[in-house]
């Protein structure tokens, strides 16, 4: 199993969620994060004080999936999250040793 972790633009969350549901993924965990990267930030001015803000709001999606599905899911997310503009984000795939559904005690693929 793998954990697919995608960093995307906030306004793309609904699209990605719909796309994932479309390919049969029915669980995910989402976190509000701040991203630093090539996409340049903005300047904020409060009276005399000017601040260059380089961290931009992003959304992190984590989905645990069976290894066989990883490629399909990465592609699905990438397609749904893409605007073609700088700052679209990244998708990372990490190894996942075990999974457990707390409610039932089911493990691994059955837990997803």
């Amino acid at each position: 199993m793998k954990i697919v972790m995608a960093i995307i633009k906030p306004f793309k969350l609904d699209d990605v969620r719909d796309a994932l549901t479309g390919v049969g993924v029915h669980g995910m965990t989402v976190t509000e994060v701040k991203g630093y990267g090539r996409q340049k930030g903005h300047t904020e001015i409060y009276r005399g004080a000017e601040y260059a803000v380089s961290f931009l709001p992003k959304i992190k999606i984590e989905v645990a999936v069976a290894s066989s599905q990883v490629d399909m899911i990465v592609e699905t997310i990438a397609a749904a999250a893409k605007t073609g503009q700088i700052g679209d984000g990244k998708i990372f795939v990490l190894g996942l040793d075990n999974a457990l559904r707390i409610r039932t005690g089911e493990t691994d693929a059955a837990a997803l």
């Binding site: 009276r47 005399g48 803000v53």
Partner: protein
Amino acid sequence: MTLKTLLHAAKGGFGGLAATALLAGPAFAQAPAPALSEGNTAWMIMSTVLVLLMIVPGLALFYGGLVRSKNMLSVLTQVLAVASLTMIIWIIYGYSLAFTAGNAFIGGFSKMFLAGVTHETVNDGGSIPEYVFLAFQMTFAAITPALIIGGLVERTKFSAILLFMLLWVTFVYYPLAHMVWHADGYLMKLGALDFAGGTVVHINAGIAALVGAIMVGKRIGYGKDLMSPHSMTLTFVGGALLWIGWFGFNAGSALTAGPVAALALVNTLVATAAAALGWLAVEWAAKGKPSMLGTVSGVIAGLVAITPAAGLVGPIGAIVLGAFGSVVAYFFCTTVKNALGYDDSLDVFGIHGVAGIVGSIGTGIFVAPVLGGVGVEDYSMMAQVWKQVVAVVIAIVWCGIGSAILFKIVDLIVGLRVTVEREREGLDLSEHGERAYNM
């Protein structure tokens, strides 16, 4: 009847008070008898409530929104506690020191604990109970120290703030209030105009905050870390409530509900509107974007600038004064402060001090009948502006030296500043044991 004799007729009261009797047009001439007026009393009770609204929640939110959330409660607590403390002192000896006969610089102790004040005593104009007059003045004596907090936030000990304010109202505020508003007062006799407190309140608070900001020192990370305001919304609300309450401050300073209050009402509307647009416009031109904080800062600058002039200049003069005060304050807050490098954290000097000076001197100009003002006896612009400058300089010197000495004393007794760890953790937790938000 004209207003020529305005200030020289003042008999032991508030600048604006005497003005009222003299402003009386035909409609009013029949009724200046020294009887209690329910209408005036109603207005002055409301004015008192409005000035309290400026302090809490007005000023507390205006300041609080500008700090980081870890220091929010410290600001709220400081404002509330300082106001409470100075109200009690006002009853004990403040009212007496400011508003009883003494010498040109300070009153006496004859009304300590409100001795002699009863249901039957009235203010000098005779139309409102003395209780109302002293309550109205109490709120001025409470908001002025609260304003100073803006220069000290996010790093000063709570105990230091309480102690400093106790000393400061005693040695700086009461004398200055006496000098400006009591018939025997040095500046009153000089003929300097200050309708609602430009020198006593705003220049005074602005200078004290500047001295404090320098003596307490910069916040850790100042000029380096992101210190964006934690809630601009709260700052907006606070600024708006300051505007609302300021009608009590300015139009209330007429001490009557008549033509003088009416003029102050209009001026407090239009000077402020012009100042909001003024800041917005220069910022738009200079930085490319007009900001909410800029517009609200303009509101406050305009209110400060019109304060000494509120019942004395015409509406067009008010518009000019408001816009000009705002633009000068903009320049100080954005350019001069950065150049000099002091951390007057919430721009008490940049806004209250600077616009207060502009307003005080501008009052000497726009009071001119030829510019739509109400005039003063034997008016000469040069002479009047000179008197205004003298008053401003006296306020600056008196307050500057006094505040520096008092901050030093407080530093020796309790220490001005919290430790680095406490500052970093935030004053809410380290000084008050609470957090503002648990969302």
